[in-house]
Amino acid sequence: MQYYIQQILNALQVGSVYALIALGYTMVYGILTLINFAHGDIFMVSTYIAFFFSTLLLGLTHHLPPLFTFVATLLAAMAGTSLVAVIIERLAYKPLRTAPRISCVITALGVGLLLENFMVAFKPIGPDSRIIPALFESTNYVIAGVTFSTLQIMIILISGIAMVLLDLVVRKTMIGMAMRAISWDKFTVPLMGISVDTIISITFILGASVAAIGGTLYGMAYSIDPYMGIRIGWWAFISAVVGGIGNIRGAMLGGFILGFIEIFTPVFLPASTYRDFVAFSLLLVLLIFKPTGILGKPAVQKV
C-alpha cells in the first residue's frame, strides 16, 4: 500500500510537468491549428536558461535568500523562454500564416531539430548532461512510510498554481476571450478590432512561460541534456492529444494520465524501457476509438 502511495506521488510529480508542457501544445493548436512540434525543445531551452541563470546567480554571491534565487531563476527562465518562443514564431511561423498547414507543421519539426542540434553543436553547451544547482534546501519527510521531499511538494504545488492561473487567464480575461474567439473564427476576429498577431504572440508567451516553469522544476529534480526535449516533448504531446488537443483542461488531465503510465509501467511490466511502447500504443488505440481525445469535441467538417 505504502509502495503504491509513493508511486502515486511520483506519478503526480512527473505528470504535472507533462501537463505544463502539454498546455503549450494545446494552446497553440487551439489558436493556429498548428501542431507546434518545437515545443518540447522550447522546454529544453528553458531548462538551459534556468541552469545558466542560476549558476550565474550563485556564482556572484551565496548570501541571497534561497527563496529569492528560486523565484528569480523561475522568472528569468520564463522571460528568456518567452523571448525564444516569440522569435521563433515571428521568424518561422508568421511568414507561413497563409501557406498550407502542412508547411507550418514541417517547419515546426525543423525548428525543433534545429534547436536540439544547435545546442549540441554549440560549444558552451554541448551534448553532456547537467543538473541545475539546488536553489533551496530539500529535506525528505517520512510520513507513514511514504517518503516525500520539499522539492516534490514544490513541483506539484507550483504546477497546480500555474495551471489554475492559466485556466483563469483563458476563461476570465479579455486576452483569454480573444484567444478563444480566434480559435472559433479566425476571419471575423480581426474585424472586431483585435490584433490577431498580438494574441498569437501572447499565446506563445503563455505556452513558453508555463513550459519554463515546468523546465526549471524538472531541471532541479532530474538531469538535463539537449535531447531531453524529444522524449518529454513527445510525451507531453501525447498528453495533449489524449486529453483532446485544443482543450486546456484536457491537456492537464492527459498530463497526469501520462505521468501515471510512466511510473506504473515498470510496476506491471518487466522493464521501464516499455514505457514509450505503452504510451504510444495508448495514443494509437485512443485515436482509433476516440479521435478527438477524452475531453475534445468532435470537429464538424465543412464542405
Partner: protein
C-alpha cells in the same frame, strides 16, 4: 497518341525515340559494373552513390504520400526500419550463406512486403479523417517500432544488429532505383494514380466522381511503405549494421527535406532532391573539416534548410513539374493537367475567366 498522318517519320528516328531510354539505362548499368573495378570511382564515391540511390527510393516513397496524395506522413523511418530488420534477419538467420547472393532480391522484396503489411494495419484505422491525424498516427507508429525493436533482446535490442554481408553494391542499387521509378511512374499514371491526384485537389469532389477514396488512400500508403521497406533492406545490406536509434524522427525529417527540396508531386523532383541533399551533406563534411569547425554543425544544416525551403520556396526545385522522359508518351502533350503552376495553364485560366 494521334500522330498526324501526313508527317512521315523516318524509321531510324522512330527506332531511336523508342529505344534511346532503354539504351541509355543499359549503358549506365554496364558502367556501374565497370567504373568501380577500374578505380575511376573510389570506394568513397561508390558509397555516396549507393546512398544517393537509397535516398532516391525513400524520397519517391514519401513523395507518393506527402506529395501526390497530399496527406502527411512523418513516420516513414519506421517502415524503413521494418524492411531493414526483416531483410537482415532473413539473410543472417534463415538463408544459408551459399545462397545469400542469389536470394538477395527476394530478401529485399520480403522486407518491403513486411513493411507494406504493417502499413496496411496502420492505414485501415487512420484514414477516416484528413489532416494532422495521419501525421500523429505515423509518428506514433515510428516511435512504437523503434521502442519495440529496442525491447526485443533477441535481435540486439538497443545495441543493434549486424552480421549481414555487404550485398548492396552499385549495380544492385541502380536496378532497384530503376524498378522504383518504373513502378512509381506507372502507379501515378494508372487509374488509381489519377484517383490519388484528384484526392489531393479535392477529396469530396473525388468521391463524387466515383473515386473510392479510402481504397485509393490505403493502396497508396501501402505501396509507399513497401518502397520504404525496400530502401531499408538495401540500407541494411550497405551499412551492415543497423540499430533502432538510426530510424528515429531525425531520419524521417531527412526524408521530408529531400521531398520538399526536390519538389512535391514529382518523381523527377525526388531524384533531384535526393541527389542534391546527399551531395551537399557530404560536401559539407569536407568543408567543415577544412574550415576547422566541428562536424556537429552538419546536423544543424538540414533543419535550417527545411525551414528556409518552407518559407522561401515551398515548391522545391522541380515544383510539380516532371522530366518529360518520366511521362508516358501518350501524355506528353497534355502537361497542362499535371502542372497547375505553369504559366500556360494560368494564362489559359485567366482567358477562360475573361470569356465567361
Amino acid at each position: 497518341m494521334d500522330v498526324p498522318v501526313s508527317v512521315k517519320v523516318p524509321l531510324a528516328v522512330k527506332f531511336w525515340t523508342r529505344w534511346r531510354m532503354k539504351f541509355l539505362l543499359c549503358i549506365i548499368f554496364a558502367l556501374t559494373f565497370i567504373l568501380p573495378k577500374t578505380g575511376i570511382i573510389n570506394p568513397y564515391i561508390d558509397m555516396v552513390l549507393i546512398y544517393i540511390g537509397i535516398n532516391m527510393i525513400l524520397t519517391i516513397s514519401l513523395n507518393l504520400v506527402n506529395g501526390y496524395m497530399g496527406e502527411f506522413s512523418v513516420g516513414h523511418a519506421g517502415f524503413m526500419a521494418l524492411g531493414a530488420y526483416t531483410a537482415s534477419l532473413l539473410s543472417v538467420w534463415v538463408i544459408p550463406d551459399s545462397l545469400n547472393s542469389y536470394l538477395f532480391p527476394l530478401t529485399v522484396v520480403i522486407g518491403g512486403v513486411i513493411a507494406g503489411a504493417f502499413a496496411l494495419i496502420v492505414a485501415f484505422p487512420s484514414f477516416r479523417t484528413r489532416g494532422d491525424y495521419l501525421a500523429i498516427v505515423t509518428l506514433a507508429f515510428n516511435m512504437i517500432i523503434k521502442s519495440a525493436i529496442e525491447n526485443i533482446d533477441g535481435i540486439g535490442g538497443p545495441r543493434g544488429f549486424m552480421g549481414m554481408d555487404k550485398m548492396t553494391n552499385l549495380p544492385w542499387t541502380f536496378v532497384w532505383v530503376c524498378i522504383t521509378i518504373f513502378l512509381a511512374r506507372n502507379f501515378i499514371f494508372s487509374n488509381v494514380g489519377r484517383g490519388v491526384l484528384s484526392l489531393r485537389e479535392d477529396e469530396t469532389a473525388a468521391g463524387l466522381l466515383s473515386v473510392n477514396t479510402r481504397q485509393v488512400k490505403v493502396l497508396t500508403f501501402v505501396f509507399s511503405a513497401f518502397l520504404a521497406g525496400i530502401a531499408g533492406a538495401l540500407y541494411a545490406h550497405e551499412l551492415q549494421y543497423i540499430y533502432p536509434k538510426g530510424f528515429t524522427i531525425a531520419k524521417s525529417t531527412d526524408m521530408l527535406v529531400m521531398v520538399y527540396l526536390g519538389g512535391i508531386g514529382s518523381i523527377g523532383g525526388s531524384i533531384m532532391g535526393a541527389t542534391v541533399y546527399t551531395v551537399v551533406l557530404e560536401a559539407l563534411r569536407s568543408i567543415l573539416q577544412f574550415a576547422g569547425i566541428s562536424q556537429e554543425w552538419r546536423q544543424v544544416f538540414a533543419p535550417l534548410m527545411l525551414i528556409f525551403l518552407m518559407i522561401y520556396r515551398p515548391k522545391g526545385i522541380m515544383g510539380m513539374r516532371e522530366f518529360s522522359f518520366l511521362i508516358p508518351e501518350a501524355e506528353r502533350f497534355q502537361k497542362i493537367s499535371l502542372n497547375p503552376f505553369s504559366k500556360k495553364n494560368r494564362n489559359r485560366k485567366k482567358s477562360e475567366e475573361l470569356k465567361s
